[in-house]
């Protein structure tokens, strides 16, 4: 079972083999959590949202369209995040709050981690999201382009530009 790709497993889940969702949960829940945590800086919220993402995976399993599983999963995650922020009338451009929250959590991070997180927090949310998906989730440019409704070339250029910017911020604060 370990050898099967996410896509093949999800296909079987869609066909009704619900137990296989546990495999996908094992493989991905940390990544989803990490993505959400780095976007929100809030552990409890990230856990709730991760929960929500996997509930949706159960609920909407039959709408899986055979595409890249990871991009599907993170599309759901992004939507959950968006829904959360619209529902709570906050824009997630509120970087001050994020910075504060991440400082609060910084005690169980290494210094390096804290630096990186602080640098990430200073990026606009759209940019931060793109970098997180590209760096931590290793989602291919093609899939990213599909998720963002853009072209692979444009995404590649954008990622490169954001990385440069992030690098400046990161080196400034170190």
């Amino acid at each position: 079972m370990e050898a099967l790709s996410d896509e093949m497993i999800m296909q079987k889940v869609a066909e009704g083999n619900l137990d296989l969702l546990k495999v996908l949960f094992d493989r991905h829940h940390k990544h989803v959590y990490n993505f959400l945590f780095k976007m929100t800086g809030d552990r409890m919220l990230s856990e709730d949202l991760t929960q929500d993402v996997f509930y949706k995976l159960i609920k909407y399993r039959s709408s899986y369209n055979m595409g890249s599983f990871k991009s599907w999963l993170f599309t759901i995650a992004r939507n959950s995040l968006k829904t959360h922020f619209t529902r709570h009338h906050k824009t997630f451009e509120d970087i001050e709050v994020l910075a504060y929250q991440s400082v609060e959590d910084a005690h169980d991070m290494t210094e390096n981690n804290a630096h990186l997180q602080n640098a990430l927090n200073r990026l606009p949310p759209e940019d931060r999201e793109l970098i997180l998906l590209n760096r931590y989730q290793e989602i291919r440019y093609d899939d990213l382009a599909e998720m963002m409704g853009s072209s692979p070339g444009a995404i590649k250029t954008k990622v490169c530009r954001i990385l440069k910017k992030l690098k400046e911020i990161y080196l400034e604060t170190i």
């Binding site: 959590y33 990490n34 991070m109 250029t157 990385l163 440069k164 690098k167 990161y170 080196l171």
Partner: protein, 263 residues
């Protein structure tokens, strides 16, 4: 490429996601370009930070809640398992319904067709009948104008063909009764008209005929009919007939007998 900066390719170069040819090109450029070397070093530091970043771990609560949700979903799915069977049944039932519906449609359309056909036939028949009546009427009217008395009688006798003779026929018959020179034609016309005594025209014609008529047998018939329908207006011409000298004595007697019942 050797002399151009490769700044935009550095992240991918560090990821090792470029093709071999481009990788070599960049390496060669880096050897000579301190600016790009610097950029590469810095970028490497950033990407290393990403790689060494400790991913925070969610609590065990997340897993247990997920597994609960999954079990709940499986349980609700268990209830739904007979769905495919039900679907089959529904399909079977619906196909039977479909067949029934199509048969019903077929029968209905056949019957509709025959109803319309029947209507059409009826219409055609009615039209034919109308045409037939028209023809008969024309024949009747022209026969009544014939010079031969027997033909005129034949024409008058055609009245039996009409259930509801129209005014022109009545008028034609009245003409015969009042003006025909032949006694038999007048008598036949009278007999024909006597079936329609409810018509005011016919009554008036009879009264007029009573005054004009010379043939005693027709006179008697007219008197009897008028008395039978209790036509009060007939009293006056009857009295006149009594006063006339050329009136047959038995006609006078007849009138005398019936006149009291009219006045």
């Amino acid at each position: 490429m050797e002399n151009e900066h490769v700044l935009d390719l550095i992240p991918e170069y560090l990821d090792g996601s470029l093709d071999k040819e481009t990788m070599k090109d960049i390496q060669r450029h880096l050897e000579k370009c301190p600016q790009c070397q610097q950029e590469t070093k810095e970028m490497e530091a950033l990407l290393k930070a990403f790689k060494s970043d400790v991913v925070p771990v969610p609590s065990e609560r997340l897993r247990s809640r997920f597994e609960e949700a999954l079990e709940a979903e499986k349980a609700s799915m268990g209830k739904v398992v007979p769905l495919p069977l039900e679907k089959k049944n529904r399909n079977w039932a619906s196909s039977v319904l479909k067949i029934a519906a199509s048969i019903a449609l077929l029968v209905a359309s056949f019957q509709m067709g025959s109803v319309f056909q029947q209507k059409k036939i009826n219409q055609e028949l009615a039209q034919l009948k109308d045409e037939n009546l028209d023809m008969k009427q024309t024949a009747m009217l022209s026969l009544m104008e014939n010079q031969s008395a027997s033909k005129r009688i034949q024409g008058v006798a055609y009245i039996d063909e009409f259930e509801n003779p129209d005014e022109s026929i009545i008028q034609a018959l009245a003409n015969r009764l009042l003006n025909d020179e032949n006694d038999n034609v007048r008598l036949t016309a009278f007999e024909a008209l006597s079936k329609y005594t409810s018509s005011e025209t016919v009554k008036n014609v009879f009264i007029e005929a009573l005054e004009k008529e010379k043939n005693p047998s027709i006179q008697v018939a007219i008197i009897q009919t008028l008395v039978q329908i209790q036509e009060k207006k007939a009293a006056e011409p009857m009295k006149k007939l009594l006063e006339k000298e050329d009136t047959q004595p038995f006609i006078k007697e007849q009138i005398k007998a019936v006149l009291p019942s009219l006045t």
